[in-house]
Symmetry: C2
Subunit: 434 residues, 2 copies
């Protein structure tokens, strides 16, 4: 062990790891582009004013932001989510043609308690549609996330759907003071993790009375197939104008999602999603796998954020894939059985003749020119060590070159898996490896 | 303009930009893998102890590091280079099989004065070989960087080569006090930008006397074809044991590079490279383009860094492509003429019939299943506006769908470049777009 370690809560991603992550990123990126999303990248840090703006990232996450002052004394913070910077971009570039559909795969930072499977630095993978107020945008984001997940080999999944407008209606119907609704949402969001009794206590502490809490608990318990759940919602909240609007929106989302071929939608009035900025439909996608039934993607509408950041009123909606969880599940279920290296062949040299070395290098360049990934020995090792290294590295072939091979114009090509070898000319080797 | 801007010295990378950057990253990555390098990623920030270690990142760059304390009061800094974190990884993982060859394409941060073409957040693209002390490793890194540059369309280039061992010999030969050699290197490094007289003044201020400065200036003036320049070096410095070793090393690098097909090597005893950690051969690659003859890649050997970070003695060498400069040159010379979107077709709907909308969505999904990137209208726009949007976005085709088209089972496919249109069945459209 060296004197230095990666900072607490962060990780080094070693090649075996990165090969798998790059595979995930590649699949996801290609699906995002098939749905017309385009790549965008924003700085790793933003002004604290932006990150901490009330109604934006908000209070739920303020304490988890990595803060620093730059040398000009400006207060900055590492981004904790990709949506906020993207919204800033849209706010400051009102000339962008709408819809502006962007994706971003990047890292975010949260000063959370490090624990199993939770890190302070982790990847997210986002899509967003700016400028469209129609429920087609929601349906498209859901379909895109589902397609991305499916492209990674996930088979069963369930989309849990709710609407902040319905939640607002519930809070009103339960007689909660308007100023306390964000507090209520933050508490309700914890119900799956902490259980009902803890959440009841928290709501009590915020000053919600028992009969309101009972009503809230009963309403968030409504869940199930869209037609039935939305009908109950209409009975309970149909007179609340905002809630009725939210119910209509969800009907549209469900019907349009069917056109996209997404059928596994469940209404779940207990779904909240922690961040303050949501204003309309919200959803989470749960994978049905052995390892976990947790959510691996989610999103929602946030129509006020662009304005909050100084831009013109701009409807916005988007979603995100939880790359870390996806990675964990795929590994645990053996769904990431990839070669750990792109290298196809290792060239070992026999003897100490500089002419042999030059010949080996020339051969490696010939193979590379044909698109074959090659490593030559850089350690002046004996054959046996070369052999061990290539096997450990998962390189499938090895070429052996010495004075004899040079003279005869024939090389030894070893297939390290089958443990067979052939004597071939250079063009024979090229043919075999292509 | 919104209230918020990206932090000073940083940029948002908009889709047109990112498409070009991703193209560059893709090309570079594929060359790196063809030479047997594997991907690795490290955290965005590291402990200040690591970043500021004397003999590592060092004094040259200390003032440019973005510093912050995390909530556990630990002093941290954003990485200013990729080599230092990679060396930490090798130091803390001595079990890694050697050679450990990794590449990394990522962003680094330097609190520099923002100026034309210089940013506080920028991309670098690194390769490194850990564990090999042979000059094959240098030759391979140079060949890899050259191949990566060529894969981007650069045609002429020149590799300028020197050795820190020779520079050490020169400083001794000039009678400079040993403790001052890092200061001397840092001053000499500025000669191209600031000119000789400024550098002379700076050396004077450090306490180097005039006759030493004269000797230094004469020696760093030696440059040219390897055979001749190395012969002069041998005459001047051959008696200095370390310098003689450096000269031998460069002879090896030149000869091995030839085997790799790299021929445009020039010896340049004025080349220093700013960072303190170099210990052996150093090089910079200059592109011969109209826009700039500046260096677009560089690297060198740093055999002491792993030990400095608490690892076992481990030889190391590596290089880096200056992604920002490469990007600028390619843009300026019109070498990045890429389609600005992957989307192949835009589907516009006529009228307000929800059945048409569902049909359009189903068609989009059919096309996506065939691998075609599709956008459907999410804004309920009229045909004319759809047409304008698709043209502006650079989407080559447009499909028009309305009640009439649904009934007849034939769609209008418009080629937006040729300004032609055809009436086709769905399978006809698929055939046309594939």
């Amino acid at each position: 062990m060296g004197r230095f370690q990666p900072p607490r809560g962060t990780r080094d991603f070693m090649p075996d790891d990165m090969v798998r992550r790059e595979y995930i990123f590649g699949k996801v990126r290609s699906v995002f582009e098939r749905f017309g999303f385009r790549p965008m990248e924003t700085p790793a840090f933003e002004s604290w004013d932006l990150l901490g703006a009330k109604g934006g990232g908000g209070d739920a996450i303020k304490d988890e932001i990595y803060l620093f002052r730059d040398k000009g004394k400006r207060q900055m913070g590492l981004r904790f989510v990709l949506t906020v910077p993207a919204s800033r971009v849209v706010a400051t570039n009102p000339q962008l043609p709408k819809p502006f559909k962007r994706y971003q795969i990047g890292r975010v930072w949260r000063y959370d308690k490090p624990q199993a499977g939770r890190f302070r630095e982790f990847w997210q993978s986002d899509i967003d549609v700016f400028g469209s107020s129609g429920m087609e945008a929601e349906a498209e984001c859901i379909a895109t996330l589902v397609a991305a997940i499916e492209s990674l080999g996930f088979k069963g999944f369930e989309v849990r759907l709710n609407n902040r407008k319905i939640l607002n209606g519930m809070v009103r119907a339960a007689g909660v003071n308007k100023g306390k609704s964000e507090d209520v949402f933050r508490s309700l969001d914890k119900i799956e993790k902490q259980g009902e009794s803890k959440v009841r206590k928290e709501l009590c502490l915020v000053g919600i009375d028992d009969s309101s809490i009972d009503k809230l608990m009963r309403m968030i318990g409504i869940s199930g197939k869209p037609a039935e759940a939305l009908a109950s919602a209409r009975r309970e909240l149909g007179k609340d104008k905002e809630a009725a609007e939210g119910i209509n929106e969800l009907e549209d989302v469900v019907s349009l999602s069917k056109a996209y071929g997404v059928r596994n939608i469940v209404i779940d009035f207990g779904l909240v999603r922690g961040l303050d900025y949501y204003t309309g439909p919200i959803y989470e996608i749960k994978a049905k796998t052995k390892t976990s039934v947790g959510s691996i993607a989610g999103g929602g509408r946030y129509d006020k954020l662009i304005e909050l950041y100084g831009g013109p009123p701009t409807p916005a909606t988007g979603g995100s894939i939880g790359v870390e969880r996806v990675y964990e599940i795929l590994c645990a279920e053996g769904m990431l059985d990839l070669p750990s290296t792109a290298t196809r062949v290792f060239i070992a040299m026999v003897g100490d003749n500089p002419e042999v070395k030059r010949n080996a290098i020339q051969l490696s360049q010939k193979l590379r020119a044909m698109g074959v990934a090659v490593e030559t020995d850089l350690m002046d090792r004996k054959l046996k060590q070369c052999f061990e290294y290539a096997e450990k590295a998962g390189i499938p072939y090895m070429i052996i070159m010495g004075e004899k091979e040079m003279k005869e114009g024939r090389l030894v090509l070893k297939d390290l898996k089958k443990r067979e070898q052939k004597r071939l000319t250079v063009s024979g080797v090229i043919k075999e490896l292509k």
